[in-house]
Symmetry: C2
Subunit: 355 residues, 2 copies
Amino acid sequence: MKAIAVEPGAGDPVVVEKPVPEPAAGEALVRTLRVGVDGTDHEVIRGAHGELPAGSDRLVLGHEAVGVVEDPNGTDLERGEVVAPTVRRPPNGTNEYFERGEPDMAPEGAYLERGIVGAHGFMAEYFTSPAETLVPVPPELAELGFLVEPISITEKALEHAQAARSTVHWEPESAIVLGNGSLGLVTLAMFEEVLDIERTYCLGKRDRPDPSIDLIDDLGGTYIDSRETSVPEIPDAHEPMDLVYEATGYAKHPFDTVEALAPNGVGALVGVPDDWSFEIDGGRLHRELVLHNKALVGTVNSNRGHFEAAVDTLASIPGWVTDDLVTGVYGLDEFERAFERNESVIKTAVEFDTR
Amino acid sequence: MKAIAVEPGAGDPVVVEKPVPEPAAGEALVRTLRVGVDGTDHEVIRGAHGELPAGSDRLVLGHEAVGVVEDPNGTDLERGEVVAPTVRRPPNGTNEYFERGEPDMAPEGAYLERGIVGAHGFMAEYFTSPAETLVPVPPELAELGFLVEPISITEKALEHAQAARSTVHWEPESAIVLGNGSLGLVTLAMFEEVLDIERTYCLGKRDRPDPSIDLIDDLGGTYIDSRETSVPEIPDAHEPMDLVYEATGYAKHPFDTVEALAPNGVGALVGVPDDWSFEIDGGRLHRELVLHNKALVGTVNSNRGHFEAAVDTLASIPGWVTDDLVTGVYGLDEFERAFERNESVIKTAVEFDTR
């Protein structure tokens, strides 16, 4: 079978030939439909994040997959069922995090991530995966099923943010997404179409005309150009935010978020920056956190429950949103286009099977 | 009646003569037993925090009170009932925060604080207060009832910290209190005696022999001298912490806390610093928050529910702990001693009535 693999930091992804994998006991064989591309893939490609599988000099990419069960192999799955695979796997045997269904809470060293850390991804014509990692997707969502993984990241982040406010009355009326990439935009869509937040904002640094700004407009959100309005200026320029969702990985954003938040607000952080030292008025931020009951919550990855929630969310996002969000789906013969990045690209996927 | 008042920033507290207050409809008249002194009082005295009541040039101090209902004035309270008053009051009429029982979540401008912000405190022979702000204290705890307010601060902070972890498996085995003042020590006692956390630590910067270090030892906690081990060094020197409770108001601590936390840990912040700019490796801290699912939760003040929880907590803290914690209770004739600060002082109170 064909797979898309990369030697991290040493060039572009290429198509390689690999044997169709044999499912072990408890695993099913899945025929891949589509696999999404995101910023993490680009970090893996440039060698800035992730780890090769033991003994491999190339990593099969892809952690946002949807496929069809080809061989249930004695599991409870059914042949023909559409499924999206979760990403983390235990490094050897299992451990407490996986045992209690919280692989997303496992610390470094206690997990592999398919397509990212120490395990091949899903960008291949077939993959195998334990039945419990394969989350059913309604057949009518099969073409968009590669969005379940990114949505699940936001499901987790919002779950944790809401938990941090669960002991008080908290109904966010204003919310901002920092970042107008695909994860930011899908999160904005969730704010508008699923959570029904009254006033939503999205921060970016692009000029109109731009498809991401068009989508922000069409969703009913307010676009904020970070070159004109910095995050700490947002309360004065617009309003303080009950909820901030940081999806850029810009190192200063968590600290800026404390200033952008309304009293009793919460900032959910999912972006991953590199080291960067800079000065902050830490006294003022500390005081703001305390005197206005603010919270910052970092979250990474997601578990099966978040995937299940993401399937429901995907079903409730209007078709025009996903039509605008997905700017390209490319077959294996032109898979390189799925990795191109320019201002007309929002979200892309590689298509493995069109049957 | 006699009251203890101060002209903020202009000298020491003095005894003043005031009329016994008349309870308004819905208020009870309370005969004061004891009122505790804490760091906030000292900040009010030096004019660094708080606000005079409208039209007053002096503020009656005191926000940690216990008293006896002298005149229920038609409320559901009974004469002779021991009560501890909550601290926040609505600035005029009421507002949504007070209406839903969450005065502690009110932003600046939406509350007064008795003895601190715009309202006289409880350091007087009598005070009046709305019945719903008076929380019953069992008579056998009357002498220690001034500890209900500080304990309620920790009840709220821990409630919020636990809420932030409520969506995942989280049973803290290691916890540290930053600060060996009275609030820090009472929180350490709660970690040990109420929450049964396996390994507890307390950070200070004092030399032995010292009564606060003795109390840490006796509680079974480990004393960490911040002059020898900085907060970011704690994971290597001891272990990463599942829970950090910041009670010093040292501006750098929230940022240091991110480094001291174990994966999936939470830092609860209750201290209030002044402005202070300094450099941090914000990229690394941001990444740590995200990749290890860490959270920071600021909380201030407390509501009636936290006072009720604090009464239960006070009842379950062993007598030897409160004996060691309360280093001095002084009558009106020597009330100045309750405001003295030196290394033999942990917690003091002024006694108004010994009947």
